[in-house]
């Protein structure tokens, strides 16, 4: 596309293969393109949001092989051979314990950052089944919510932890 050669100078095929929400995908565009823009502009999975493009706001959080990562600073090539999960793939029916807790606590205001918050919280709960307030704060401090829903985020994570227990 656009004059890009399918091989690099050493003859290696510049096609990236990865799994997104369980579906195998190949990408032959700029391997430096952040995963965020690949997900949004190429795959049209727009649940993952752009907020800062420098990994400091957390709106773009996805799971790469199960770990929360900032897709805005994670080049597509870094996801080659890995499994990426976005908010759209977190659960089949939108009923992951974290999503259910988010609804129960009426967390979202504008909602823009919430996909990132939910993905971060889901990764936290996968590692720590019953996080304390301090552990929640430590895990979630990279995710900004400008509407200020933090108190309900903390509450919802506790609710989700109860559901999982």
């Amino acid at each position: 596309m656009c004059g890009r050669e399918p091989f690099d100078s050493e003859g290696v095929l510049l096609v990236i293969q990865l799994k997104v929400n369980g579906v195998t995908r190949t990408f032959d565009g700029d391997p430096e393109m952040p995963l965020l823009w690949y997900l949004r502009d190429v795959l049209h999975l727009t649940g993952t949001k752009f907020g800062c493009a420098m990994g400091v706001c957390g709106s773009c959080t996805v799971h790469v092989d199960g770990h929360a990562q900032r897709s805005c600073v994670w080049p597509v090539k870094g996801a080659a051979g890995k499994a990426v999960t976005t908010i759209e793939g977190l659960s089949e029916h939108g009923d992951h314990a974290v999503q259910a807790a988010w609804k129960q606590a009426n967390v979202p205001q504008c909602g823009y950052c919430q996909a990132g918050q939910i993905m971060q919280a889901a990764a936290l709960l996968a590692e720590k089944r019953k996080p304390t307030d301090a552990e929640i704060d430590a895990a979630m401090e990279g995710n900004i919510c400008r509407c200020g829903t933090y108190q309900r985020i903390r509450q919802a994570i506790h609710i989700a932890a109860g559901v999982k227990a």
Partner: protein, 757 residues
């Protein structure tokens, strides 16, 4: 529309009425009246089987379609107003479909700004719902041949009391559509006891889509054949492209074209800033191409702007006599008298940026002299006017599709970014999405004004302020419509002319400051700095008098009364509302102050404060709503500040959707913490020095108040604003708490600049 009018659109900026309530409420249009009208609605409501009103459509299967004409930026308004209509209609909420309206002046004011959606549209929505309910009841009565009074609509069914017969709304659609529209006086609104949803609430309509990633924001729009644009804008306000070289940019894979955007013709209003745009197949390619541009700028006169110098000038200005905006008694005579104790203080607050989590973004498609715009905008009709003016077409040829806003806070009522998209679509003959980077957002915001305030009071022997002088200096929002504007207009109505204390001698002044960056309104606007200055200064006086700050505050508030601005010859804007209907009522201020004192257990906790802890109080009326807060701070031995708890007592008259009201105040507490502790925009050589969240900080979960308790203390009066009024009292209450905790008086924001130990 000229630019002065444009600036005055926001209700508070002039003394005019906000439009909506005047237009609606009685206007129930039969479907036939709409048949030949322009098709500007989004679709389903307009084509419903029965369309008793612009806002309402019913289908024969019983589906109720309600238009949300205000923009959803997190307040819940897209749910709350349709919920009000549904309640009066006695509709089953599970069968209601809410549809976002396009920009359409027939709907009345859509500028979702100034915390007045509920204030202006609550009664109108009730009226529409109740009118349609009556028509359904009459249709059933006619069908059964029984008196109308014996028929009752309840939860999507009309029943006949005597016979027990029932008929569903869907079955009544056809006969109800033939009913004449009842007169307003025939329509009975529900009593509070009959409310099904009002005062209780329902989950927001987009909740499931938000938590599953399917909600659609401006950032998420994609049209077939669309190009993504990133614009390199002049680093100094009013700067121009002298020359540019795009040869390297065009070599970037995926880049499809480079276009210049003309700079604005002063005054800047909501026009684009100009610059060079790179259009590409995706956002990343556009950003990469933009990096390769080589642009030479002509900076223009605003390159002189240096925020440190500017601060010094503003402070100097605030020390000298200035224009009098409010005067009671004779401050000068009182100061000239011997005796008493004079206290002077200087306060300063910086420029702030909005930084909604979604940076500005808009998509436009220009075809054959008409434009479609998709945007998360607070003001779709302004998008129509601004785009039309810039492109030289008619506003009705601009269709604005409103999607969810990833935060607004006032930024999204200024459609420079939609206009960029429309212009670039016209130039490129393609649909274009303009994506602002976070750096663009921070550099090119319409900033919240910086301010310098000077206070001088004289305490008499009893410690009461016998004289109180206050001066405020800030670059005005009016600079948007007049680049030479130096004095505030609407800003003075926001916490400056309405200081509620019973002061025998009081003067409020305003000094000049010229804008060198775009100044705009940010959530609660000038109330932010005015409430900070006034509420911190009275706390200073309380401590000087050796009194408890809340005791002292209540004492200075004086007897319960409605402030008589007419008698004192003060022209007070009152958020565009008549003082008779929405007085400045000190009894309501007193009640929220007393309530927060009690509910926060202020007096008990004050006696048990740990070392490094403090409680601070502030109370402020804004957007017709009364709010008082008690904030607890803790400063550790390293000077690190934490906020264990904030209590807010709120009187917004009535809470239509209590959970969303509470959530607005929870959010406002966090927003206020960002303002108090962290936010600061500075400039050198006319260039903004911050760029992203690493150097323009906003509160994170670990910096936000650990616990916020919102206490609704409702008077039952007309419902008033909730989006903004929680913000103003937070910063002064934090500063006042820090004084208790550390003995340090904070007279400058952000507090992070002051070492607390």
């Amino acid at each position: 529309m000229n630019r002065i009018e444009l600036v005055s659109r926001r209700g508070f900026l002039n003394q005019a009425f906000t439009a909506g309530a005047l237009i609606l409420g009685t206007r129930i249009l039969p479907a036939s009246a709409l048949a030949n009208g322009p098709r500007t609605m989004e679709g389903a409501v307009e084509s419903a089987a029965w369309r008793p009103d612009l806002f309402l459509g019913l289908e024969t299967d019983g589906t109720v379609r309600i238009l949300a004409h205000r923009s959803e930026m997190g307040t819940g308004i897209k749910t709350s107003l349709p919920m009000v209509l549904a309640d009066e209609l006695e509709a089953d909420w599970s069968r209601v479909k809410v549809e976002q309206a396009l920009g359409d002046k027939r709907l009345g004011d859509q500028d979702t700004d100034g915390s007045h959606s509920i204030t202006d549209y609550y009664e109108a929505m009730r009226q529409i719902g109740a009118t349609a309910r009556l028509m359904l009841e009459r249709a059933a009565a006619a069908q059964w041949g029984v008196p109308e009074a014996e028929c009752r609509a309840q939860n999507h069914v009309v029943s006949h009391a005597g016979s027990g017969r029932k008929i569903s709304y869907g079955e009544l659609v056809a006969p109800a559509a033939k009913q004449p529209v009842p007169k307003k006086e025939e329509v009975k609104l529900k009593t509070a006891a009959e409310f099904r949803y009002i005062g209780k609430g329902v989950p927001i309509v987009d909740l499931h889509d938000i938590v599953t990633g399917h909600a659609v924001y401006g950032m998420d729009i994609a049209l077939p054949g669309m190009l993504y644009a990133s614009v390199e804008r002049p680093p100094v306000l009013g700067g121009r492209v002298r020359s540019f070289d795009d040869s390297e940019a065009k070599k970037v894979a995926g880049v499809r074209g480079v276009y210049t955007v003309p700079g604005f013709t002063p005054p800047w209003g909501f026009q684009p800033l100009g610059g060079v745009a790179v259009l590409a197949d995706n956002t990343w390619a556009a950003l990469q191409g933009r990096k390769k541009l080589k642009v030479e700028w002509e900076d223009g006169p605003n390159a002189v702007f240096d925020s440190d110098n500017y601060k010094r000038q503003m402070i100097e200005t605030s020390k000298k006599p200035q224009r009098v905006a409010r005067s009671i008694g004779d401050v000068d005579a009182e100061f000239a008298k011997a005796g008493g104790r004079v206290i002077e203080s200087q306060y300063y607050t910086p420029l702030l940026a909005h930084t909604p989590m979604e940076p500005p973004v808009a998509t436009a498609h220009y075809e054959n002299g008409k434009v479609q715009v998709w945007s998360g905008t607070q003001n779709p009709q302004e998008v129509q006017s601004s785009v039309a003016k810039y492109l030289g077409i008619k506003p009705e040829d601009v269709t604005t599709h409103v999607v969810l806003l990833g935060g607004g806070f006032g930024r999204r009522s200024k459609p420079d970014y939609e206009t960029e998209a429309a212009y670039l679509s016209k130039q490129s003959a393609k649909p274009v999405k303009v994506v602002w980077s976070r750096e663009d957002d921070v550099h090119f915001d319409f900033f919240h004004a910086t301010s310098a305030m000077y206070f001088k009071a004289k305490l008499d022997d009893a410690g009461k302020p016998a004289a109180w002088l206050q001066r405020t200096v800030f670059p005005p929002i009016g600079s948007m419509g007049d680049v030479n504007a130096e004095y505030g207009t609407g800003e003075l109505n926001l916490g400056w002319l309405d200081v509620p204390f019973a002061l025998p001698n009081h003067r409020a002044e305003n000094g000049p400051a010229k804008a060198h960056v775009r100044i705009g309104w940010l959530r609660s606007v000038a109330n932010i700095y005015h409430a900070y200055g006034v509420q911190a200064f009275i706390d200073e006086l309380a401590h000087a008098a050796g009194r408890d700050p809340i005791d002292y505050w209540l004492e200075q508030l004086g007897p319960d009364r409605q402030i008589d601005f007419g008698a004192e010859h003060t022209k007070y804007g009152n958020y565009g509302k008549a003082l008779k209907a929405y007085p400045v009522d000190t009894a309501r201020l007193r009640k929220v102050a007393e309530a927060v004192r009690e509910r926060s257990s202020y007096d008990e906790r004050k006696k048990q404060l740990a070392k490094g802890s403090g409680l601070g109080f502030a109370a402020h009326r804004s957007f017709l709503t009364y709010v008082a807060t008690v904030v607890e701070v803790h400063v550790d031995s390293q000077g690190k500040l934490t906020i264990p708890r904030i209590d807010l007592a709120v009187d917004c008259g009535q809470a239509i959707h209590p959970d969303r009201v509470i959530s607005q105040f929870e959010g406002a507490a966090v927003f206020g913490v960002s303002v108090a502790l962290l936010g600061e925009i500075t400039a050198a050589d006319g260039r903004i020095q911050q760029s992203n969240f690493h150097n323009y900080k906003v509160a994170r979960i670990n910096e936000a108040p650990k616990e916020t308790r919102v206490h609704l203390v409702l008077s039952g009066d007309n419902p008033t604003g909730v989006g903004e009024p929680g913000v103003p009292p937070i910063a002064p209450a934090i500063a006042n708490a820090i004084f208790v905790a550390t003995g340090k008086r904070i007279r400058e924001l952000p507090i992070s600049k002051t070492k607390l130990v």
